[in-house]
Symmetry: C2
Subunit: 383 residues, 2 copies
């Protein structure tokens, strides 16, 4: 019913009854409940001119907000969205994820109320749901990180309960590349039902949208491509194997290679800086990393047959060089049928992709039929 209203397909009680085949009384009962719970607004009645004009329904955007939280290794970005997914406000702060969940989530806890006050300059908004992206594996059903390598202290930490106790709303937690993939698919590439989002930063990860939905796999570890072997390479990897994609083509590996030839490069951002300065060694390194990524990607393209591959992460700042290598390898190696209409493009959403994607995740959950039913069945006003 919300989908009909939101999409504009049916925006009056009569139209909804016609579209769903539900009895008029059932529809009216349900619409009243949706209004009472703040999901939907109904027009004030227009002045009657002859017959009584039907009152129009719309998704309620004012008064409410959904938070989208993007937690990175060294930053935290908190966004506020309305229920249609429009970004109302966003704030980024430096932060060390290794300081542990209490410190990091405490920061989010302090930031959110301030954002809710200012938001889009109108009246304060009520928080309805929270989406969170973190840089590690998450058991999606419980929202708990599972042995996240760069998040000491976060293993099994009950992130949803942290927010539930403080804000009284549901929080959904997911891997950061999953929500970034969701943001790119929903906002920039909505014609691509099957999309891969490659994040090339210090490490390398992949978010998967299959048939319009995030594919998380059996243990929620789908897209963990950083340790796929690149053929004929044997760079040792911190995971204990060798030749892993991350050890060959991650930002940290690129920086290490540039240090080896005497350049000053601590991390991904230095690689980006050197490429922008026109350093030949850096350009060559990024291009070669692109080829290694493309070699692995060519197999995934054959297997998954996506319409679109989006490349994001710190290294996408120099996507001219990176994508040249990626495309070269993929188009040279993948099945022609799979590359026929394949697009390989830099991120379009950019730095807010994590916060927006986390917010979209929370909105889509809150507006799902099961959740709406649950909200209507109780007296609680929180979705």
């Amino acid at each position: 019913m919300l989908a009909l209203i939101s999409s504009g397909v049916a925006v009056t009680r009569a139209e909804i009854a016609r579209h769903t085949g539900l009895a008029r009384s059932t529809v009216s009962h349900r619409v009243d409940a949706l209004i009472a719970h703040g999901f939907v607004d109904e027009d004030t009645e227009a002045p009657s001119t002859g017959g009584r004009p039907p009152r129009r329904l719309s998704l309620r955007t004012h008064g409410h907000a959904i938070a989208g939280v993007d937690i990175g290794a060294s930053h935290c970005r908190v966004g506020l969205l309305d229920v249609k997914g429009t970004l109302l406000a966003v704030r980024e702060d430096p932060l060390t994820i290794a300081d542990g969940p209490e410190a990091v989530l405490g920061h989010v806890e302090r930031t959110l109320p301030r954002l809710l006050e200012v938001a889009d300059g109108t009246a304060p908004r009520t928080l309805r749901a929270i989406g969170v992206g973190v840089p590690g594996p998450v058991e999606f059903s419980t929202g708990r990180p599972v042995d996240p390598p760069i998040m000491p202290g976060w293993h099994h930490y009950p992130v949803p309960e942290f927010f539930g106790e403080r804000f009284g709303v549901r929080a959904l937690v997911d891997n950061d590349v999953n929500v970034m993939a969701l943001a790119e698919q929903r906002r920039a590439f909505s014609d691509a039902l099957h999309l891969l989002y490659l994040k090339v930063g210090t490490g390398i990860g992949c978010g998967i949208v299959a048939d319009g939905h995030i594919h998380r796999g059996a243990q929620g570890s789908a897209g963990d491509i950083g340790h796929i072997r690149v053929g004929e390479r044997d760079e040792p990897c911190h995971c204990g194997n060798s030749g892993c994609l991350e050890a060959v083509a991650g930002g940290a590996a690129m920086a290490a290679r540039l240090r080896d030839v005497g350049l000053e490069a601590i991390g991904s951002l230095d690689v980006v800086r050197l490429v922008r300065e026109g350093n030949r060694e850096a350009v060559r390194t990024v291009r070669e990393a692109g080829r290694a990524i493309g070699e692995v990607l060519s197999g995934l393209v054959n297997f998954f047959n996506p319409e679109t591959v989006v490349v994001g992460g710190a290294l996408s700042a120099v996507h001219d060089q990176l994508l040249a290598g990626v495309r070269e390898a993929v188009y040279g190696r993948s099945n022609p049928l799979a590359t026929n209409v394949l697009r390989i493009e830099p991120s379009r959403i950019g730095e807010n992709a994590g916060a927006i994607g986390a917010g979209i995740l929370a909105i889509e959950h809150a507006l799902s039929p099961a959740q709406v039913d649950r909200a209507l069945a109780t007296d609680a006003t929180a979705v």
Copy 2:
């Protein structure tokens, strides 16, 4: 509504009204239509003892049949299933797919009526829908093969129209490994929402079930893993590249290797025979092929994170040797989180997987809400 009846969740008009929130009159109207169109049966009224006992509804299995057709390179298997997916009869004949669609489909056309007559020994059945699996890429929306390498004459052939004109029913056409994956998932591994089906025969292909649905990808070429590069290998492949999985570990490649050492081996079945005879060279070849398959699969397991990988095809007849190599490579190389609960198992459905899977594909389509709505909206009795 059919799902409620089929699963036994709601089997009377009153229960359906309660579960769906639909008005009683709407439910009764729709149930009458389902009965009239032959989807559903209703109990004859039981003798009244006090109140009138509610009449129970069930999916109609008698009188109807769905065909599942498995077309291979050199065989054709035609199965008949009832609407619940029970295999009623099956018949296999040798056949050459390269003889072209008229010859092959003509054979199916002649076989079907005979199967419908005998089926399970009861009265003749009416054909309601047809599912077809073919060994090549298919544009699923139109049911037409697309440049299938081993199917000369089949490019863009309108298979659904062939059957539609002759039997007046809808035919769905899909790649054979897709329907085999579906059969294994629905019948043998229904607890695995994410499943890969590897067919190791002359060539190597993969069927993908993601979140319970066949994943076909953007051009329907998903699962085409035969030309993924095996690291450090350079066997020339007929596709023009080198080191392709199929050229390294397919049945044809294995047979060629055994011929090189003086053994008599024309195809996959000879490899199987030699292994069964205990030939060491053949055992070693199959085990090494397993390792190469496992090397590629380890990357796909990291990417897709399936619960279950099922290995079928001619070579699965010697799965002890094949799976030893596959498991060795996957467990040695994939992320521990992804292999935690991963099962790698031989096919459980066996030789009828293609026919059963094609039948299930047709049944699930025929009973989908959109198709049922369409059937009810017309006077046609064919689903």
